[in-house]
């Protein structure tokens, strides 16, 4: 599928794993490298220990004013200076998915300020969300962040603030994988 990205835990890959820890729920096996590539490419499959797949999609919660602000402040993935990255796969509880759209929006933004928190770290921390739940994957979201080494402390602040939100009480599995470009 052309719009799917595969994150492969493997012996080789375009990112080297600095750390991999389970924040909540079942862990994921340790790997030396992470290879990030379109899911259609079949390279390197033999050496994969695991693979997580997801797709970028339209925004699900952001209002026009938020989308406009995000676009104005965001920088793309793949910046030369962004030598560090993080892959944080997340699964939410069945209770989250049983909520109606207005209930999820209220928790996501009005209570938890998810978009507003992320904006505080733009353009330093570039981010991309990949959806995985609808593929029957073990995680619901694969969240991806890229930043320069001098913004690592800021990134710790970002994830700490998100993990302290009301929204995060609906997260029942989370892995935190820190990466440096190979």
């Amino acid at each position: 599928m052309q719009n799917q990205v595969a994150f492969s835990g493997a012996d080789r890959g375009n990112w080297r794993v600095e750390s991999l820890r389970a924040v909540r729920g079942d862990p994921l096996p340790a790997v030396p490298c992470l290879d990030v590539a379109p899911a259609s490419s079949s390279e390197n499959q033999a050496s994969r220990l695991w693979v997580l797949r997801g797709f970028a999609s339209n925004v699900r919660y952001a209002k026009r004013v938020e989308v406009t602000s995000l676009k104005a402040q965001s920088e793309p993935l793949g910046r030369r200076l962004a030598m560090k990255a993080a892959l944080i796969p997340i699964r939410k509880t069945p209770a989250w998915w049983a909520l109606a759209q207005d209930e999820r929006r209220a928790i996501f933004e009005e209570q938890s300020h998810h978009t507003a928190i992320g904006m505080d770290y733009l353009p330093a921390i570039a981010r991309q969300l990949y959806h995985a739940k609808d593929l029957g994957e073990p995680f619901d979201f694969l969240t991806w962040f890229e930043f320069a080494p001098e913004h690592e402390a800021a990134f710790e602040g970002l994830v700490a603030r998100l993990r302290a939100t009301q929204e995060w009480t609906y997260v029942d599995r989370e892995i935190d994988i820190r990466l440096v470009r190979s």
Copy 2:
């Protein structure tokens, strides 16, 4: 993938095609039957002329009050009396997908009354939405309806009302396939 459904245009299948017409955009080849099955099953592949895949997912626009009302009034698929069905694959324009969540919601419900129109035909017309865009499919949605033969005129009213909405100005491909149980 366990949550994917495949709609296969084929020589045999659990539904017989009564009519197949392009409402807007490119047509789809005529077929004698439609086979509806989990996408993981590999039966009957040889005789397929085409296959459309989609997945059921969480609600994207409905508020709590609407979800509660829908659940109270809806009946399940597969009712004995529901000998008729319709598969209506739909694609929306890039302009639709570039809208923010609040803009899409406003067009979908406050302007077009999509959920409210559907509710007028419950429980007679049972419906299920399958998402396809994020699979890289040719359509964005596969909309599925089941009803007893005596509600066919009501169903015509339902689709006519939806096609007259502001939301439908964002539909650039639509096929209308009418079916009867084999």
